[in-house]
């Protein structure tokens, strides 16, 4: 299927071309690591070689101007080698310890603090929001920026009981590991979609549309003599899947879209098996540009956790130890009917035992 005259299917460049010499030399032969100071990771190889990784925060949405700045810094401080992390931070890979401070200084001047290591809050994994996506119930980068401005001290320090991973997604598609984060901030639609009956026959296939609804809320219907659909409002839980398959069914709603907060997920296998995040706050309004309600709700959860959890205890492990009733009490978050699952496996979340704290 390749088209002549163009190269196709060559795949990404081989990673070896991008590895610094110290990494090539000690590949697979690292002995141990330390975090000599926040934002600086020291890896010592079996050979005795030392590699310093300086981790700088990134808004993820980067201008090429900034990427070129990073390239310049890499040239200046680490022979042109750097990498990005799985949480979208940038890491400069130094062999000369003395260069750490000057690099940090330059990064600070450019507006990129270092940190996010050890028992800290690292970058918020997030998504497109109003910058690019059609499904979004809120903006992504703006909420993330607002939260991280507030939680900044936990990025540059390492004073939390354990790592605390925050993720953000702007709709239920959850582009990211949002569903397994210590704190997940999630854009939610809260009203059934509105149907553009004129467009439905033009841009959508009715059977596909009907099939797309997980709760069976969509039924074929004839409107103005044209094939369209109707939605049983009571059965709709605003997942937006119908919108994904048919743009004429509009889920976005300026008045009723907003944000929910979920807590206690993790993905590592360390100590506790991976866990999903669970609902903490069902709904907060979209209040740009700073989303104060969301920021303070997240901050509250972080602070209560920081104060009460034991060392090495991730958010979910802490909550499991103290129990959900205590979590709601300590955080002063109201418990509502929305916290009670009513989807397919709801019954599995009921408390089926008399083991209770009274």
């Amino acid at each position: 299927m390749a088209i002549p005259d163009r190269k196709t299917d060559i795949g990404p460049p081989h990673y070896e071309k991008h590895l610094p010499p110290i990494v090539k030399k000690n590949y697979g032969k690292w002995a141990y690591h330390e975090i000599p100071e926040p934002g600086v990771l020291l890896h010592v190889a079996e050979s005795g070689d030392k590699l310093y990784s300086v981790r700088a925060a990134s808004p993820r949405l980067l201008a090429i101007t900034t990427i070129r700045n990073f390239a310049d810094l890499a040239d200046k401080y680490c022979d042109g080698y750097l990498r990005f992390t799985s949480r979208n931070n940038v890491e400069f890979l130094l062999t000369d310890q003395k260069k750490i401070e000057p690099l940090k200084k330059e990064l600070a001047d450019l507006g990129f603090p270092v940190g996010g290591m050890g028992n800290a809050i690292s970058n918020i994994v997030h998504t497109q929001g109003w910058v690019h996506c059609h499904s979004s119930a809120t903006d992504a980068s703006g909420v993330v920026k607002s939260i991280m401005d507030e939680l900044y001290p936990h990025f540059v320090d390492m004073k939390l009981p354990a790592k605390l991973r925050i993720a953000f997604a702007c709709c239920l598609n959850m582009c990211g590991a949002v569903h397994c984060s210590d704190i997940a901030v999630l854009g939610v639609h809260t009203r059934p979609p509105r149907i553009d009956h004129a467009d439905v026959p033009k841009v959508c296939e009715v059977p596909t549309l009907v099939a797309s609804c997980p709760t069976g809320a969509i039924r074929p219907a004839t409107v103005n003599d044209k094939p369209s659909i109707e939605i049983e409002d009571e059965q709709c839980m605003y997942c937006g899947n119908c919108y994904t398959v048919c743009p004429a069914v509009k889920i976005n709603n300026a008045k009723t879209d907003g944000i929910s907060i979920w807590v206690g997920g993790k993905v590592s296998n360390a100590r506790h098996e991976p866990m999903f995040s669970k609902l903490a706050v069902p709904f907060l309004p979209n209040n740009p540009p700073r989303w104060p309600e969301v920021v303070s709700a997240v901050k509250n959860i972080v602070e209560v956790y920081a104060k009460n959890a034991r060392k090495h205890e991730r958010m979910g492990e802490w909550i499991e130890r103290i129990g959900w009733p205590r979590f709601f009490k300590l955080t002063d978050i109201p418990f509502t009917r929305y916290h009670i699952d009513d989807f397919t496996h709801a019954g599995e979340t009921f408390k089926r035992s008399a083991q209770l704290k009274h």
Partner: protein, 397 residues
């Protein structure tokens, strides 16, 4: 390019303040481009109105590929014509996101010439995202990328861009070569990556150890998580150093071991390795003293996904332990067997994790040709609704 005026963005400007790096500042760094000016205009409007202004439209892409480009259009095309088309490319990142400054500049140069100058480093799946391209620019950008040795990643119902943790490149705990496995699989399945032919997306993620620093268990259809079989390597002298340095070995290590298989008498850290579930916690805490064992490989888990449609799933154990040597024949055989069966019987937009639940794991294993083992489950069934096959019951007619 005609120079437009950057619109007034009082709301967005608020987001230039504060200690965290500002995406608004980033956008404004490229604001000499009309496209970026219009982006700021649209975005300010969203901030005013509390709603996004993008819509999906027809499929766009590069010739011969079905994936790699996400088509995006503004619903305010009259007012903001420069972002009437505002597609993204997904450019396949190098394994573990290592770059030379030269490579980064190459990329920037191409994007400087043809696009918004804005990127995501990186997208949630791992790609380099070029944010904001007109349709007409798609082919030229693609041509320049491939000329320089870059290619697009996945989108749509195809294999998505695999990604991996930093692994052996910089981590002492990597139980296999994550970068190599990721690269090898990516190269091997270029067709599957670029030409959607599956019922839905299929993601690979490679993590070097159970810490799972790429969150593979939460967001990949095939999660390859490094692990080991034999005993944890212990340097007792170094354990004692930790103890002397103030680490409460009993409380911070033994008491938190999920399989309760460690004991510490103040001198020796004893591990009942047969009981160890390879969680990494003790190794994480006593990084200089403990190391994974020497017989290394990976656990293969299948089926993670986000909530749409039946609810989110974590990956589930499929092969408890697999050696991970190039050319990774076992992984490939498994993946292909899955693609065959799921490809034939999966419904449209049904992820493999949902598919397995629909057909039943037992049936799925039969078809893939794997034997059931108790490691695959957290516990056997509690409900008595067993579908018996004829051979089980003697005398069955």
């Amino acid at each position: 390019m005609t120079k437009k005026k950057t619109p007034a963005t009082p709301l967005l400007d608020e987001l230039e303040k504060g200690p965290w790096p500002s995406f608004i500042k980033e956008i404004k760094k490229e604001a000499d481009r009309p496209m970026v000016q219009d982006l700021l205009g649209v975005l300010e409007r969203s901030y005013e109105e509390h709603i996004g202004h993008w819509k999906h439209g027809g499929l766009v892409g590069v010739m011969g590929y079905g994936g790699g480009v996400i088509g995006r259009y503004s619903d305010l095309q009259e007012e903001f014509p420069e972002v009437a088309e505002f597609h993204t490319y997904r450019v396949n990142q190098p394994a573990a996101w290592f770059y030379t400054s030269k490579a980064l500049r190459e990329i920037c140069d191409i994007w400087d010439e043809h696009g918004s100058g804005l990127t995501n480093m990186h997208g949630s799946t791992g790609d380099i995202i070029f944010l904001g391209s007109k349709t007409e620019a798609l082919e030229p950008v693609f041509k320049k990328l491939t000329e320089k040795g870059w290619d697009l990643g996945g989108s749509g119902s195809d294999m998505r861009t695999p990604s991996c943790c930093v692994g052996p490149a910089r981590c002492e705990w990597a139980c296999y070569d994550t970068l190599n496995a990721c690269y090898d699989v990516t190269q091997n399945y270029q067709d599957e990556l670029h030409r959607p032919a599956f019922p839905y997306k299929f993601k690979f993620k490679f993590a070097g150890c159970p810490n799972d620093c790429v969150a593979s268990v939460a967001r990949s259809d095939m999660s390859v998580i490094g692990t080991w079989k034999d005993d944890i390597q212990v340097d007792q002298a170094k354990v004692q150093e930790y103890a002397k340095a103030g680490v409460d070995i009993q409380k911070e290590v033994c008491d938190l071991c999920p399989s309760d298989c460690m004991s510490w008498d103040g001198k020796t850290l004893d591990i009942d390795n047969g009981e160890c579930v390879k969680c990494m916690h003790c190794i994480n805490v006593l990084s200089k003293a403990l190391k994974p064992g020497k017989e290394r490989g990976a656990t293969i888990l299948i089926g993670a996904k986000a909530p749409i449609i039946g609810g989110a799933l974590l990956s589930a154990v499929f092969v408890p332990f697999l050696e991970m040597e190039p050319p990774y024949e076992d992984i490939k055989e498994l993946a292909e067997a899955i693609w065959d069966f799921w490809g034939e019987h999966g419904k449209n937009r049904e992820r493999v994790g949902e598919f397995i639940q629909r057909v039943g794991l037992g049936t799925f294993l039969d078809q893939i040709g794997l034997d059931p083992v108790p490691e695959m489950i957290s516990h056997p069934r509690a409900n008595p609704y067993i579908f018996f096959q004829d051979e089980v019951v003697e005398g069955a007619q």
